[in-house]
Symmetry: C2
Subunit: 309 residues, 2 copies
């Protein structure tokens, strides 16, 4: 076991898990003994990518033990999305592509954020800056993260840099980018086998907005109506979660990855604020979010503005 851990956010998606793996490999090449771990269960989409590229899933950790000396964060910086006892450890570095909030250190650190679609796009740049080759399987995992975060380049968070990186990584990984990408994304849309709790928390993150704690989850599907058949069950559970976890509001984004559209389920207090943020009405907990596919770019900023404005 290494004394330095690297990990992505809780409720890890493919970028959170694979950026820990790719960043740990880079640090190992640079002579640092770093272990990638995951702060929660591996999703079906991520497992598909790990299997395809012959990589063992990292071990799952929620509290780090006291023999850990320091940590490196990838794909997140907000403490409520991180290790439960993150306050106890020195943060050596952060590589991220999200807003910065509630993040504070006592001393200087290495912090690299860029407004691109995927953390692995930045990590690929850092590999190049150090002149370190990306092994075939790690290239495949990094490619998987870019496909996942950008929904195969359809998300408004996707930049020309993400597309260029994905193309280069697909060549190293020796896969057909689009054929592999569609297969991997579809592997993540199998909601029938998932419990309501998994659907609500699978990819969910907590955000402090004004004085509210807002829980935003996202689930990718190929058929929104199919999932909406479980609407009552999801709403009932979200109400329980809000009370148990102290969320003021839960928003579940049900995103159709083929049509690049989203329906939101809204549960809790502040419904009017959600309506104002998106200029749409909420009917029986349901809100249409046409053209929305990106939580980070199309949901968090307008909601933050509405709650803080």
């Amino acid at each position: 076991m290494s004394n330095i851990l690297v990990f992505g956010h809780k409720s890890p998606d493919t970028d959170a898990v694979t950026s820990a793996i790719s960043f740990a490999y880079l640090q190992n090449q640079l002579g640092k003994d770093v272990e990638p771990v995951a702060l929660g269960e591996i999703s079906e989409e991520t497992q598909y990518a790990l299997d395809f590229f012959n990589t063992k899933a990292p071990r799952i950790v929620t509290e780090a033990d006291s023999n850990v000396e320091a940590v490196m964060l990838v794909d997140h910086n907000e403490p409520q999305q991180s290790l439960d006892n993150i306050d106890e450890f020195e943060i050596l570095s952060v590589v991220d592509h999200h807003r910065i909030a509630n993040f504070e250190t006592a001393g200087p650190l290495y912090y690299r954020a860029e407004p691109v679609g995927c953390t692995n796009t930045i990590i690929f740049k850092i590999y190049k800056e150090y002149g370190i080759d990306v092994p075939k399987d790690i290239a495949g995992l990094m490619l998987s993260a870019i496909i996942s975060d950008t929904l195969l380049f359809k998300s408004p968070t996707c930049t020309a840099e993400d597309e260029r990186a994905a193309q280069e990584l697909a060549e190293i990984a020796e896969v057909d980018l689009h054929a592999y990408g569609m297969k991997m994304l579809k592997a993540g849309t199998n909601v029938n086998s998932k419990s309501a709790q998994d659907i609500l928390n699978g990819d969910a993150k907590s955000f402090e907005m004004g004085d509210k704690t807002v829980r935003i989850g996202q689930v990718n599907v190929v058929d929104v109506q199919e999932l909406l058949q479980r609407k009552d069950e999801l709403i009932e559970l979200a109400e329980k979660n809000n009370v148990a976890e102290g969320y003021d509001l839960t928003l579940l984004l049900i995103t159709n990855i083929l049509e690049s559209d989203t329906v939101g389920l809204v549960v809790g207090s502040g419904i009017e604020t959600v309506e104002a943020a998106f200029n749409e009405t909420v009917n029986d907990h349901q809100i249409k979010l046409p053209g929305v596919v990106s939580r980070k770019k199309q949901v968090v900023p307008p909601l933050t503005d509405a709650f803080e404005g």
Copy 2:
């Protein structure tokens, strides 16, 4: 006037002023219309460097007008060290080498921090990553910043990267690094001509530590005793400043750049905490800080720990 401003921290030192200039030039080369400004008076040391390398001082700004569209921060991130109305503007990017605190954005941004001795060392790396040549005079200004921040490589904040960058920049600037460096540092130690207010605020920064606001200034000298002859005047003014500006504590670091040693003047509440932080007693507002030359590495972290621990 450009619609994007770039600036370093208030009470600007040589790195704050010149990193705005070097980063603006880089952005201009990348096609962005960016203007460097300074958030306070130019110090004698900085003016020496600007004169030596034929560069006009940037204009001084404390509040940006409404036609400014966005800003870029260099050499700082904490809002209390920034533009008075920083909250009104979108922050496009940060390049910094300090701790991150009280910094928050609504959306993703470009953030580049590394634990090196000088912001210009990072900016020099970014020039290289983009393949952009550093003009002779800008190289001289960047070199001046590295010399200033590392006290000619004597500060514990200085890294091998800073030294390497300084050597390369000295070649581009066509100066003898050590001869030029000593002349520039000495130009900044002329405290006789300075008012007590200039000495206290010349390079001072405010830090939130626990629930206290701590004001820490630093002045470089070649003779500590000479400045201590003005101790009564400095203490009286610091007491007034504490009340007027709402500081709980003012700490003035008087650093002998030839002997790499510091004497601190402590004024305000929390004297015991300062004593605990450095394991030294405060006698008549005075504390010995042997071997201390770096506010960032040797003063802010132990003080933060003491106030928050």
